[in-house]
């Protein structure tokens, strides 16, 4: 019997080159064959030698490789003013980001850690181990009228944009008024609602000229508030209150803030290259007013999702700073003790919470019921979760982060851990949790058995930590309540937002990272209509309590109201279920000096940092 490999046409059988081909030509041994062959072989051999030779070079070189640092990102700075290749530039720092943003519009606050370094507002927030401090940046000084209503900022006259134009009060005026323009729908518009005429303009009832935001002259900027507001000053470091150049923004049109090549920068650094999802380069902004104190010439960012990869980079000197988690913390703490590296650990004003779809009850229709929400919340063991999933962070039982201070001391020290008491009654007791869940079902008049109920958890991201997080939640909830938990996992934030806005979920993990140092910044998030992206919690009592804070200058009273709010939100209504408080565990190489962090600005603050090898 005959058997022939039927390989007459190989097109398409790409992966199956192993299959042999029958027969070869008898006579005409074509010259082309040998020519081609020779060519391929020669080239192949050359390349082979080339790369093996290079191995040695690299080996020998690598001790110094870190100092010359021929990073992909450095040399990636091709078509712009940035230096052509690495090795020529001293004072480079290599950093890692888990993901890059895609937003350069300061008013939109898309990407704080980038904006804090490439742009600058009136003030700068810098933190070290001793906590945050505010420094004057774009402003040299500030006058506040005795009634606390009129703020006058005296801008520094040497501040310039990266194209050489001066930063003037008009830029601030434009930026702030842009923030209020209803056309653009900025989420942070409410930051300025306390300014005279602002909310009216936003609601289409007044004109921009009536807003109490004025450029008195080129370097004097004046803002008039409706009522005195103790939180106003702390908002000044937030990027929505940064200046924006009218000519540049309008030239970019609806691509403003989306296309970085159309941006001008007034911060210590300027963006020069961005390779999507891969790397990014900033160079020192030569026009920056304080450029003499900016010691780094270039900042290279690598987008590395996995901690393990980033740790390897940090180990071999390809990274200078590493925000560690899990077992790496213990490992690097030892290195720190041995003097091989430095560390800085700080609280970071962010709280991650479980959000429920409360407007329609979610896909399951159950999330409107408070007992159901509580049962889900209490079936999650927070201590276990932070240790197993993240290997860092602090279990959270309240909404406001411990990094937020009131009167100079941490708010959390002054308030109780809101839901801890009730949580402890249920923690780890599956029967009690099931009963609570059943109570919720009864209240809703639902007769389905728990095992027939499916709760949908919306999540995004494919890094291992994301995977662990959703699996942990899935398992915890289904093990304790006996319900099915289905995952709706999407690739990135864009699609996540789509799914969220289409309400294709019951629960998801969301977070709030504070923009200014006041508990109000956390609590205001959950006010009806402020953000619709936290599960649409709505309680008129809560809203009126928030409103009652307006004009309240007594911190003791404010604290009382804050506590009431938090109690209402977290303990009584379970509008969100706090999971953990964020923190930062930075480890950095010994050659990095003056590395700071910032709670409300660039989380890796580099404006004074230097690299001394």
């Amino acid at each position: 019997m005959k058997y022939n490999s039927p390989c007459a046409d190989t097109a398409g059988s790409a992966g199956e080159g192993l299959r042999k081909k029958g027969g070869t030509s008898m006579r005409k041994r074509n010259k082309v064959v040998s020519l081609l062959l020779a060519g391929c072989m020669a080239a192949g051999l050359l390349a082979g030698c080339g790369s093996s030779g290079e191995t040695q070079v690299a080996t020998a070189d690598n001790a110094t490789a870190a100092s010359t640092s021929t990073g992909a990102a450095d040399s990636a700075a091709t078509d712009s003013a940035a230096p052509e290749t690495a090795g020529e530039v001293d004072g480079q720092i290599n950093l890692r980001a888990v993901a890059f943003g895609n937003n350069f519009d300061v008013q939109d606050m898309g990407w704080r850690w980038m904006m804090g370094e490439c742009y600058e507002g009136l003030m700068r927030d810098v933190a070290d181990e001793n906590g945050d401090r505010f420094e004057y940046a774009g402003a040299e000084s500030m006058d506040v009228s005795d009634d606390g209503l009129v703020y006058t900022f005296h801008l520094r006259k040497d501040a310039k944009w990266s194209d050489g134009q001066p930063v003037t009060a008009a830029d601030y005026e434009y930026g702030w008024k842009r923030l209020l323009n209803p056309e653009y729908g900025y989420s942070y518009s409410f930051f300025l609602f306390n300014v005279v005429g602002a909310e009216e303009y936003y609601n289409g009832q007044g004109s921009a000229d009536e807003i109490g935001i004025k450029a008195v002259d080129d370097y004097t900027f004046e803002v008039t508030l409706k009522v005195a507001d103790p939180t106003f000053q702390s908002k000044l470091v937030a990027t929505p209150l940064y200046p924006t150049r009218q000519d540049v923004a309008e030239a970019a049109g609806d691509q403003w803030g989306k296309d970085w090549t159309k941006c001008v920068y007034n911060g210590p650094f300027a963006m020069t290259n961005l390779v999507e999802d891969n790397s990014m380069t900033w160079v020192k902004n030569d026009q920056y007013w304080d450029k003499d104190n900016v010691k780094l010439n270039q900042v290279n960012w690598y987008c590395v999702a996995e901690n393990a990869t980033a740790a390897t980079m940090f180990d071999n000197g390809q990274l200078d700073v590493f925000d560690a988690a899990g077992d790496y913390i213990a490992k690097y703490d030892k290195e720190v003790e041995a003097g091989n590296m430095q560390t800085m650990t700080t609280e970071y004003p962010g709280t991650m919470v479980l959000c429920y779809e409360q407007s329609g009850g979610g896909k399951s229709g159950l999330m409107k019921n408070v007992n159901i929400r509580k049962a889900i919340s209490y079936s999650i063991n927070r201590e276990e979760m932070v240790s197993a999933v993240y290997g860092r962070y602090t279990a959270a039982y309240g909404f406001v982060s411990p990094a937020i201070t009131l009167d100079g001391t941490s708010y959390r020290k002054q308030a109780s851990e809101t839901m801890k008491k009730e949580y402890e009654q249920y923690a780890g007791d599956a029967d009690k949790l099931k009963a609570l869940f059943q109570k919720g079902l009864d209240e809703l008049g639902i007769t389905d058995k728990p095992e027939d109920i499916t709760i949908t958890l919306l999540s995004q991201g494919s890094a291992t930590e994301n995977q662990l997080e959703r699996e942990y939640l899935q398992q915890s909830i289904s093990q304790n309540l006996g319900v099915k938990v289905e995952l709706n996992t999407v690739g990135d934030y864009q699609m996540f937002a789509n799914e969220r806005d289409n309400k294709n979920y019951d629960i998801f993990v969301g977070g709030w990272f504070s923009d200014y140092n006041d508990p109000l910044d956390f609590l205001n998030v959950m006010k009806t209509g402020v953000y619709d992206s936290y599960g649409l919690y709505s309680n008129s009592e809560y809203d009126s309590l928030i409103d009652s804070l307006t004009g309240e200058n007594d911190n003791a009273k404010r604290l009382e109201i804050y506590q009431k709010l938090e109690d209402l939100l977290v303990a009584q209504d379970c509008g969100v279920a706090p999971l953990y408080y964020s923190d930062k565990h930075y480890y950095y190489q010994n050659w990095v000096k003056d590395f700071y962090t910032s709670s409300f600005g660039a989380s890796q603050e580099l404006y004074r940092a230097s690299v001394q090898k």
């Binding site: 007459a8 490992k331 063991n381 197993a388 890094a463 942990y472 398992q475 093990q479 995952l487 996992t489």
Partner: protein, 305 residues
């Protein structure tokens, strides 16, 4: 010197049957192939390994009695021990159970995808060969279009449209793979139709069914078996890769690819979490590859030596 004359011989019995008798047993193609495969220790070894693996993916998760999804945070990140043969992962789940459940998923995905590939490919190829003419042209053009998009590109595209689930994964994996089978089947049938022995069978009045069963099927089975042996490792690879990129199965379903990408995170501290899934994956793939080689040799009479 005595001459041999015919008279000195006598007929001791003669039948037509005896004359045509074949002393040694007739060996069919399949018996022959099986005989040669049996002589190939590597292929047989692979077959045994695959048998063991098959048993393990069925009973493996139940041996230690641990559920593959239940967490036990108190015993997370354990090393190899008598309690946990492969240790535990960072949520304290028994890795031994998880590896076999993951291997089961990987194998099922690979086998189902292969089955889809074979069925669609065979039917499509047979249609092309049977109808010929413009049908053949059109069907062939469709294959060419599909083949002109790099398969991984198409796979990722399909996953994007259908979402992260088993069905989507199967569709995405097999959407391009069947083309090759179809081409091969088409070529084979066309070739067979022209062969002398099929012609002879037709002339001798063999029924179409007999021709299909006796001539087409055995020839095609050879191709299809080889196709299977090479397709399964390929599907396992692709699935692992997709899971690594985060576009494979979604939790709590696990496959070897998912386990590998999870294990990578803990590689520095708990290498066993990466080692075991990798090892099982490599063993499965290697066994299939070696078996495929053995089958190729066994099924190809030209290599008989």
């Amino acid at each position: 010197m005595a001459a041999l004359t015919p008279e000195k011989f006598k007929v001791i019995g003669y039948t037509e049957e005896d004359a045509n008798r074949i002393d040694r047993p007739t060996i069919s193609y399949w018996q022959d192939a099986w005989r040669r495969l049996r002589k190939n220790p590597i292929a047989m070894g692979s077959l045994v390994v695959l048998g063991i693996l098959l048993v393990m993916v069925i009973i493996g998760p139940h041996i230690k009695g641990y559920d593959y999804v239940s967490m036990n945070i108190a015993e997370k990140n354990q090393g190899v021990s008598s309690k946990y043969w492969f240790g535990t992962d960072n949520l304290g789940r028994d890795l031994f159970s998880r590896v076999w459940v993951g291997a089961r998923a990987s194998l099922i995905i690979a086998i189902v995808a292969t089955a889809i590939k074979l069925i669609i490919g065979t039917v499509y190829g047979a249609l092309m060969a049977h109808f010929g003419g413009w049908v053949d042209e059109v069907l062939m053009r469709i294959i060419e279009v599909i083949n002109s998009i790099p398969s991984l590109l198409l796979t990722i595209l399909i996953m994007m449209i259908l979402g992260n689930n088993l069905f989507a994964l199967l569709v995405a994996l097999s959407v391009t793979a069947w083309c090759n089978t179809a081409r091969q089947v088409r070529g084979m049938i066309k070739q067979l139709r022209e062969t002398e022995y099929v012609y002879a069978a037709e002339v001798l009045g063999a029924k179409p069914l007999r021709i299909i069963l006796k001539h087409y099927v055995p020839n095609m089975l050879g191709i299809l078996i080889l196709d299977t042996a090479t397709a399964i490792p390929m599907f396992i690879f692709t699935e692992a890769g997709l899971s690594f990129l985060g576009i494979g199965l979604k939790a709590p379903s696990i496959s070897l690819g998912v386990l590998i990408s999870m294990g990578q995170q803990n590689m520095d501290f708990y290498p066993s979490q990466l080692l075991f899934p990798c090892l099982v994956l490599c063993i499965i793939v290697m066994a299939f590859n070696l078996l495929g080689d053995g089958l190729r040799d066994a099924l190809d009479p030209r290599l008989r030596q």
